[in-house]
């Protein structure tokens, strides 16, 4: 006994409505005989049997909507014994079901580190996100650029890495520092300092009269362009002091202080439109005062023209910020991360002082040392300042 099923006549035929049987049960059928009419979305189609036999039993009535593959009738093969109750054959599985369905091997995706998930309200470029993740910078602590997006330059500034290539690369034509970029970098650095570094402050008033007298004497014999400014011997004194206090000269990274093997003093230089930048004079303790003066002049010129080298911007081990003339008496400087110390000097002004019990007018300068309390403490800072003061008191020894 075989089953005559609703045929599939097209890929998009799902079912057909039986219109009429053209043969009745009990009649003989031959291969090719039209046995019924089925209505489809395209119209009425005659359906045929593919074997010889007797139409034994019909299972569907005219008017019924029958899905493709469902049994419509039984056909008894010629010579087959009478009607038998047989369990209906399991419908043959679709040939498609037999096809080996091996899961498509996905193309290997580039291995992705677990990047920090995006934070609602914070727009970060993918490259910035990756860099932040690599350096364990919490994106919520970063400040966005002027367009509201945190990009590579913001993250780079935050980790104190070399600034974006636009600044560091020597240009065919002097281009100048992009003030916007620079401000952004400074802002990021200062935020980080404020956030991460526990500052302590130690202050001293230095009698700069011997220094100024010494300078006047030396400069009297020089042409104007060769004249020393007090910044140079100040720098040397500061450098020598840091050389003597190696626990204050270095960087604080990954939870520990790393002493530097050189003394590269960052000089805070004002660049119009950008604020202060702090390129370093490398090995400042190894150069005499005149050499330092030359280097300072060169540094200022290049800083203002945009010709700084990335090493100068990234290799400072401690910083000196000197407010200079006609500014303010003192300041509480902020350490430039990842350094651990900074010396801030106010203007030199003539003020009353006491020498040997007498009140006299002296050239005085307020000096403030700020230290990272994770690396040192106030006592140490005070010792540093004391030493620095004594060096400044004997300018001929510098």
């Amino acid at each position: 006994m075989s089953e005559f099923r609703m045929p599939s006549l097209g890929a998009d035929m799902e079912s057909g409505r039986l219109v009429e049987w053209l043969k009745s049960p009990g009649t003989e059928v031959e291969r090719g005989d039209i046995i019924a009419v089925v209505d489809t979305q395209k119209g009425a189609i005659e359906i045929e049997v593919f074997e010889d036999g007797v139409l034994e039993e019909i299972l569907a009535e005219p008017g019924e909507e029958i899905p493709v593959g469902r049994t419509l009738a039984y056909i008894r093969a010629p010579g087959e014994p009478g009607r038998e109750q047989r369990a209906a054959e399991k419908p043959k599985p679709e040939s498609e079901a037999e096809s080996p369905h091996t899961p498509a091997t996905a193309k290997p995706t580039p291995s992705a580190t677990a990047y920090p998930p995006s934070i609602p309200g914070i727009h970060m470029t993918p490259a910035a996100r990756r860099l932040a993740a690599e350096h364990q910078v919490d994106p919520s602590t970063l400040k966005a650029g002027p367009d509201g997006v945190i990009g590579l330059s913001e993250v780079q500034a935050a980790i104190g890495a070399a600034p974006t290539p636009l600044e560091a690369r020597p240009k065919p034509k002097a281009r100048g520092i992009d003030p916007v970029e620079m401000r952004r970098a400074i802002a990021a650095a200062m935020m980080r300092a404020n956030r991460e570094i526990p500052h302590y402050y130690v202050t001293s008033t230095i009698d700069m009269t011997p220094m100024m007298n010494w300078l006047s004497a030396r400069n009297a014999e020089r042409a104007i362009e060769d004249r020393l400014l007090y910044a140079a011997p100040l720098l040397r004194a500061v450098a020598l002091s840091f050389a003597k206090f190696p626990d204050l000269n270095g960087t604080f990274e990954k939870g520990a202080f790393v002493p530097a093997d050189r003394v590269n003093i960052g000089m805070a230089i004002a660049v119009r439109g950008c604020g202060l930048i702090t390129p370093a004079i490398l090995d400042a303790d190894r150069h005499d005062v005149d050499t330092l003066m030359t280097k300072l002049n060169d540094l200022v010129k290049r800083a203002r023209a945009g010709g700084l080298r990335s090493s100068e911007l990234s290799m400072g081990t401690a910083t000196l910020t000197n407010l200079g003339d006609r500014t303010a008496d003192g300041l509480m400087p902020i350490i430039f991360p990842p350094q651990v110390a900074i010396v801030g000097c106010g203007q030199i002004s003539e003020r009353p002082w006491v020498v040997k019990g007498e009140v006299v007018a002296r050239q005085l300068m307020e000096m403030t040392f700020a230290g990272d309390h994770r690396a040192s403490d106030g006592r140490r800072g005070a010792q540093f300042l004391s030493h620095l003061a004594s060096l400044l008191g004997k300018p001929e020894g510098l």
């Binding site: 099923r5 097209g10 035929m13 359906i47 091997t105």
Partner: protein, 334 residues
């Protein structure tokens, strides 16, 4: 059929002609059954009623000639000698199919038999045939390219471009138009201002003939004559074979555009019926010969279905193969 035909037809030839037509007929019927049972999917276009065309023309071709056909090409494939199992497996989509299952019913290709499809765009095969013939002519290979197409193709621009090129460059193409009167659901007189396709060919200065496509002997004779002329350097030739398909355009076609009487009438002149009657009358073959051919066809088809059923599916990992030719295996098409 005239007495002349009787003289030129041997018993062996008659067996071959009838045997192939019966094989194609039963093969196509089997395909209809398998399609209804969802073993064959997509589109299925049956050649039932048109067998005489493929069978008759193929007798005139040699193995190194080329054949280009349409999506109604199962008969042509079988007449050309493609293994029936591979043709059936192709329709199943199995790896053992002629085109490794990638093409299905409409894209049967077999390079060994120089069988270039299986083309599903009406008229799309004609420029291919022109190109194959061009290559033969340029390489001075005395081969013929036989291009089968329906009368619907005559409306396509590619038909005209191909006729023109073949005639202009005198290329060795045999164009065989199987005019069954209907381009899917549209009758010839509703789509052609000039219903004689032969006339189209003549306007390109191509020599041609009107042929009774239901008479395998007539088809064979016309093909032998045309191919002979081409081989002698006569340029392209054209046959317009008047024929009829007994089934609708494809499986999912309620045939609303044809009258039942018309179909019935053509069936009385069907190629198998006609030729069987004639070989019996002329005593070229006996009824038991014919029964034997039917049995042989049944066996062949059973084997073909078994082969197709047992043929494996291509693994999904191989999805993207054969889009481009791997470099180490560069096939020269000679």
């Amino acid at each position: 059929m005239s007495a002349d035909n009787q003289v030129s037809l041997s018993r062996a030839e008659a067996m071959a002609l009838l045997g192939q037509m019966i094989l194609i007929r039963r093969f196509e019927e089997k395909c209809a059954e398998l399609y209804s049972a969802q073993k064959i999917r997509g589109f299925l276009h049956l050649y039932i009623g048109e067998e005489a065309n493929a069978v008759g023309v193929m007798r005139a071709l040699s193995p190194d000639d080329a054949v280009v056909a349409t999506y109604r090409e199962h008969g042509h494939a079988l007449a050309r000698g493609l293994p029936p199992g591979e043709v059936m497996a192709e329709m199943y989509g199995k790896a053992g199919g002629s085109s490794r299952g990638r093409g299905g019913s409409m894209h049967i290709f077999d390079k060994k038999h120089r069988f270039y499809g299986g083309n599903a765009i009406v008229g799309g095969g004609l420029p291919l045939a022109v190109g194959l013939a061009l290559a033969d002519k340029m390489q001075k290979l005395n081969r013929v390219t036989c291009c089968f197409f329906g009368e619907g193709a005559a409306a396509e621009g590619e038909f005209h471009e191909s006729m023109n090129l073949a005639a202009l460059w005198q290329l060795p193409v045999l164009f065989v138009c199987e005019n069954n009167g209907y381009a899917m659901g549209t009758g010839l007189s509703r789509s052609e201002s000039e219903t004689s396709i032969l006339q189209h060919a003549k306007s390109y200065r191509i020599t041609g003939e009107d042929v009774d496509g239901m008479d395998v002997v007539a088809v064979r004779a016309a093909a032998l004559s045309a191919v002979g002329a081409i081989r002698n350097g006569g340029g392209p030739r054209f046959l317009e074979n008047k024929t009829y398909r007994f089934r609708p355009h494809s499986m999912f076609d309620p045939d609303l555009y044809r009258q039942k009487q018309e179909i019935a009438q053509w069936k009385t002149r069907g190629p198998v019926v006609q030729f069987s009657k004639w070989v019996i009358e002329t005593q070229l073959l006996s009824q038991s010969d014919i029964d034997g051919l039917e049995e042989e066809a049944a066996r062949t088809i059973d084997e073909a279905v078994r082969y197709a059923e047992e043929s494996p599916w291509e693994p999904e990992e191989d999805l993207e193969r054969d889009v481009y030719t791997p470099r180490k295996v560069e096939e020269t098409a000679r």
